[in-house]
């Protein structure tokens, strides 16, 4: 406990943004408390497109739903899908990269050519195609983004593993009869882990933006689920009459991405003090 406190005091930036991130996660979990039990899915059409007021501090959308409530509930979809994506690309990428780097040869060549193919798709093209072909849903959007982004982690893990594969202590372990799975877990993974964690931490914000972009295009969350990207899409249609519909969900994305980017940067500073 004392150690934790000391750590937090020494890394003020990390502490501050970890605290903010924690607050955001709490807001998502305790959304019903924060919104006084209002229903994010239901509204009365008589209240449609109301400007921000005391009753609806962020205004209402064209179905009369309270935007504030929807923004708070929207954190759930955004956060879970973002963490899901980051966790998945981290796992898939690292495992493939470690395997390619450790075994080399044909395995490496095949895996890396597949990675090359993924890289040959510019920007969102592949994600759009995957999401489009499989149908619009949050799950498919996650799969699409993972399919595009795992290569970065795979390349990273591969190069890190290849760096230590030929070290003496590794060869010694092989000679003394260590089994392959043990080698991978005991030596290869721990070596690649810090760099991969840094990458994952700094990627959270970017992934959130990609998911929001897919949702915005209508390939992510399905209505009436509150999700920030899709709310912006709805807001776009009513921009002239109800600009608040697009203002607040966008602001929510922006703030959350800032917090997680800063958190990622401070995690990088702690784990890897060399880089700027």
């Amino acid at each position: 406990m004392k150690k934790t406190l000391k750590f937090l005091r020494e890394h003020k930036q990390f502490t501050f943004f970890a605290f903010l991130a924690f607050l955001i996660i709490l807001a998502a979990i305790f959304a019903p408390l924060l919104t006084g039990g209002a229903d994010p899915l239901k509204g009365s059409l008589t209240d449609a497109l109301e400007a921000p007021s005391k009753a609806h501090i962020f205004g209402t959308d064209k179905m009369g739903r309270d935007i504030y409530t929807r923004v708070i509930y929207g954190a759930r979809a955004s956060l879970t899908s973002t963490f899901g994506v980051v966790l998945l690309i981290f796992l898939v990428g690292s495992v493939i990269g470690v395997i390619a780097g450790y075994f080399g040869g044909v395995v490496d060549a095949v895996l890396m050519r597949i990675a090359d193919m993924m890289l040959a798709f510019p920007g969102l093209v592949l994600a759009l195609a995957v999401a489009g072909v499989m149908g619009a849903s949050i799950r498919n959007a996650i799969i699409a983004i993972v399919a595009v982004n795992w290569t970065k982690y795979a390349r990273l893990a591969r190069s890190l593993v290849m760096k230590i594969r030929d070290r003496d202590y590794v060869s010694a372990a092989v000679v003394t009869g260590s089994k392959t799975p043990y080698m991978l877990l005991r030596y290869m993974l721990p070596n690649a882990l810090p760099t991969l964690i840094i990458t994952a931490a700094t990627d959270v914000g970017g992934m959130m933006l990609e998911i929001a972009a897919l949702s915005f295009l209508g390939f992510g969350a399905k209505p009436p689920t509150p999700e920030w990207g899709y709310m912006l899409n709805e807001g776009r249609a009513c921009m002239q009459s109800a600009p608040w519909m697009m203002l607040y969900p966008g602001l929510a994305i922006f703030i959350v991405v800032v917090v997680f980017n800063m958190l990622g940067d401070s995690i990088r500073d702690i784990l890897d003090p060399r880089s700027e």
């Binding site: 050519r113 040959a120 093209v125 072909v133 929001a212 295009l217 990207g229 912006l232």
Partner: protein
């Protein structure tokens, strides 16, 4: 890069393209939607079960997977990417018609981006840790965290709805309709590039030749503008190439916001109407363009940087 390397890269591109064609074909083959029903529903006809089966036979959709793939690939190689179900036109024609607007948008946004990023990045580097530097870093940080579609919507709200100097729908081909989408893309990219320019200039400033020039009494301004600056821009060329490639395919979001008639918008239409031929054609074309641009950039880099050209 010599001829042999270029040739090897071309061979690599062909292999990757075949892989990509396989992936895209597999993707659409496995997809839950039925293209025949989609085709009919697009024309507003409610087909009978027999009609569906008959059409499937006609289109060869009942053949084994590999046969279908081989037939499709052969057609592609002959430049025939099939017909778009939803728009009822050859895929190639549709793509070709949309390529130019997207190309215009891409180039315009790159120009705008460079106008913002280069001066900011250079100023930030030359006055490292000064007030200007902190402001630049804060601005780029904010820029990186803003979803570009939100930036687009905000610009639209401000300049089209409130002040009304630009049209809300940017479907015309003129400068006015091009400007806002391009600006939106440029703002998102400028943040990334400003940081990049700053790092590159700082790196160049730390090179030994700067001290050498100072020891020869060369003026600071000459050192910066005739030596450091051009050298710092060299690595940007690679980045610009990658950006052109990804912009050509990845402007969907901005094109949709501004109803801009480009490739990205076409792709979204294709996907929402499950127009598989169009999706396949789009993905293949984009991958091809992207890889060719990267090849050109890498090859041209060799001619720009004497170190790459003359060293073995």
């Amino acid at each position: 890069m010599n001829k042999k390397q270029i040739f090897r890269r071309l061979a690599q591109i062909v292999i990757v393209l075949i892989g990509i064609s396989f992936i895209t074909f597999l993707l659409t083959y496995l997809s839950p939607g039925d293209p025949v029903r989609n085709m009919f529903s697009a024309t507003g006809v409610m087909p009978t079960e027999e009609l569906v089966q008959q059409t499937r036979d006609e289109l060869g959709l009942n053949d084994p997977f590999l046969t279908q793939y081989a037939r499709w690939l052969t057609n592609c190689l002959h430049g025939d990417f099939g017909k778009s179900y939803s728009l009822n036109k050859p895929v190639v024609d549709l793509l070709a018609a949309r390529l130019l607007p997207t190309l215009k948008l891409t180039l315009m946004s790159l120009v705008l981006m460079l106008i913002m990023a280069v001066p900011l990045g250079v100023a930030s580097a030359l006055h490292k840790d000064s007030f200007i530097d902190y402001v630049c870093r804060a601005v780029t940080f904010v820029g990186c965290a803003m979803p570009n579609f939100w930036v687009g919507l905000l610009l639209m709200l401000l300049l089209c709805v409130k002040i009304q100097i630009f049209p809300v729908i940017a479907s015309g081909g003129d400068f006015k309709s091009l400007f806002l989408p391009a600006l939106t893309l440029a703002i998102a990219m400028a943040s990334k590039y400003t940081r990049q320019v700053r790092t590159a200039v700082l790196e160049e400033l730390n090179q030994d030749y700067v001290i050498g020039a100072e020891a020869r009494g060369v003026k600071r301004s000459t050192i910066i503008w005739k030596n450091v600056f051009p050298n710092a821009l060299l690595p940007l060329i690679t980045m610009l190439g990658l950006s052109i490639g990804s912009l050509l395919g990845g402007t969907s979001v901005v094109e949709v916001i501004f109803s801009y008639p480009g490739l990205g918008n076409l792709a979204v239409t294709a996907i929402t109407s499950s127009d598989y031929n169009l999706i396949q054609g789009y993905v293949l074309w984009m991958a091809l363009i992207y890889m060719v641009i990267n090849l050109i950039v890498d090859a041209s880099y060799v001619y720009i940087d004497p170190r790459m050209r003359l060293k073995r």
